[in-house]
Symmetry: C2
Subunit: 353 residues, 2 copies
């Protein structure tokens, strides 16, 4: 026989469970939160009542009464592109292990209205903290608007991100240097570059690493070729702007490299015989691409996991030790290394063979 349920929602409440089990509300709450403090006999009775009623604690009430939340907010500029979705996956995975839930908020653009509405959305929920995917400026701006009382960390692609939050990062600039130097070391006179999102700051790491490597070696610096994120846009940009003098090409990411190779093929140029190409991110498809793509591997999943763990250590209070001790360096930063994976899309220039 179902017991009468008193709550407006129709769902059973903790009081219904208590009544059915013949104990106080306090005891039911203890069974839920600290079962070891309840005698085995009552515990069993309460559990049976919970089962019978199909009782589920109300999350909002729990959060309000305890002040603790089991949810973290992710602030990001995108959810589908490889680096983004993989980092989010890492965060989600780490959260799941700790029995926490992840909520996604997309910052549409760096328009102040969008920044504001994203921040409002995040702060309107009961969150224990937020992790920002600080891969572009709009997320930096949003993170900067969070109140200091909200624990926050960033996953980033640079050691010096502008939000100033504790962070974990994979150094884009280093990856770009590795890629560019690899091509120069093979004997190419210089390296061209297809850049997404340039000259906005978000493209800076990869593009600057490339420029710096050229400068170091004292070789000629070609104009950077701008493109969008879509492989088709990259193909168009390559068709339009890549001259016959190009023998080595460093691309902003693998999607763009694949678009560029498609353009070169269309022009009858072979990779790597006529032009060497390096991608970035090392997506799973880069191995089966023809030719197998030389790329910079970025462990985004680990980036996500590690950043989430950093947030947790902040929440536990553990994380602040370093900052307190450091004095001049008030912020934690942990670096994860990028690595160059050499495959078949790069070779010495024809002139040297």
């Amino acid at each position: 026989m179902p017991v009468a349920q008193s709550r407006r929602s129709g769902a059973p409440g903790i009081a219904d469970v208590a009544k059915l089990a013949g104990v106080s509300v306090t005891t039911v709450s203890r069974v839920l939160n600290a079962p070891e403090q309840v005698s085995e006999r009552r515990r069993a009775g309460v559990l049976a009542a919970i089962d019978e009623l199909g009782y589920r604690p109300n999350g909002a009430a729990r959060a309000l009464a305890s002040g603790r939340q089991r949810m973290v907010g992710v602030l990001t500029g995108n959810t589908t592109r490889y680096g983004f979705s993989t980092t989010i996956h890492g965060i989600e995975e780490a959260a799941r292990r700790r029995n926490m839930l992840v909520t996604i908020t997309v910052v549409e653009s760096d328009d102040p209205a969008h920044i504001r509405s994203a921040v409002d959305l995040v702060l309107g929920q009961p969150l224990s903290g937020v992790v920002g995917l600080e891969f572009d400026r709009m997320v930096s701006l949003a993170l900067a608007q969070l109140p200091a009382s909200m624990p926050a960390v960033a996953a980033s692609l640079t050691g010096t991100n502008s939000s100033g939050l504790p962070r974990v990062y994979i150094d884009d600039e280093l990856g770009a240097r590795l890629a560019t130097l690899h091509l120069l070391d093979q004997g190419h006179a210089t390296v061209h570059h297809l850049a997404a999102d340039y000259p906005t700051p978000s493209g800076s790491g990869r593009t600057y690493g490339y420029l710096r490597a050229l400068a170091e070696r004292g070789v000629r610096v070609p104009d950077v070729v701008p493109t969008g994120w879509d492989p088709l846009e990259a193909r168009s940009a390559a068709l339009e702007f890549l001259g016959d003098d190009v023998t080595a090409l460093f691309c902003f990411n693998d999607d763009i490299a694949m678009g560029a190779i498609s353009a070169l093929r269309q022009q009858g140029r072979r990779v790597p015989e006529d032009v060497s190409v390096v991608g970035f991110d090392d997506m799973p498809l880069s191995t089966v691409w023809a030719p197998a793509l030389t790329s910079v591997r970025m462990d985004f999943q680990r980036l996500g996991r590690t950043t989430f763990d950093l947030l947790c250590s902040q929440l536990d209070g553990t994380g602040r030790t370093g900052a307190a001790e450091a004095g001049g360096a008030p912020v934690l930063a942990k670096e994860l290394p990028p690595s160059l994976i050499v495959r078949d899309s790069t070779a010495p220039p024809a002139a040297l063979r």
Copy 2:
């Protein structure tokens, strides 16, 4: 001068705002929820106080007091693969437009413990409803465990998903038929098939649509070749199982098609001259692949958006009308069409040219 703040969290509460503005808590609440009911003079004062204190309403308290939530839960088996991440993107976008937040819960496997913990995680949060990505069995199982009191809808790839929830779907089986018939129409004696996740039920739609098309035409039915989701696994499976007799190949998705083409190329077989290949999903990369991939376009983003809208109509009560009237057909279902995009990876068999 900052006003003393009474709450344990340190953040200002609605009472602090009321005191500073010289009004009642009720009025502050009205300014937040129904500003038109407050005189302009007081409204301005309250807004100024909110601004000065940097006041943010507590989401948990709001949810508890009002019984309304601004968050929907997404239950999914995966967050990174193309169809999944694109559908989630559509959901997120639609939610953002309505000022709602999305929370992601991954069901790890169909292990009852995983199902149970995913459901617990979802129900432990204050949600207004859930949308399940019912692309595989584990999500079906999880959805089935939600209490009837929790509004829920499904995005699906079949018109008859097992959860029985209201749903929006793109018919996988129809897409697979289109792909298979296209190859047969070009004159191939039969079509081979590389299937992920087969013979589990989740692979059913695409694989069954393929099998049905062969049966319809009365052609020989080759053994289905099983593979994993990764392009490299697909390449291995193709290398191992695809005999010399294959002239047409229908692949479970584009990743797998690309892996298979990589294998064919390695064996010295040309696409489409020696073997025609069709993919599924029509990822952005399929256009720049060599050769440009014939594929089945699935509008996952729209699937996500539409499913979210369906949930909203359920929440508004609008959605139930149809069910009530239908009697025998108690569930809403809306279909979105797949479409075949013919590119350069398919052609008539060599024998016919």
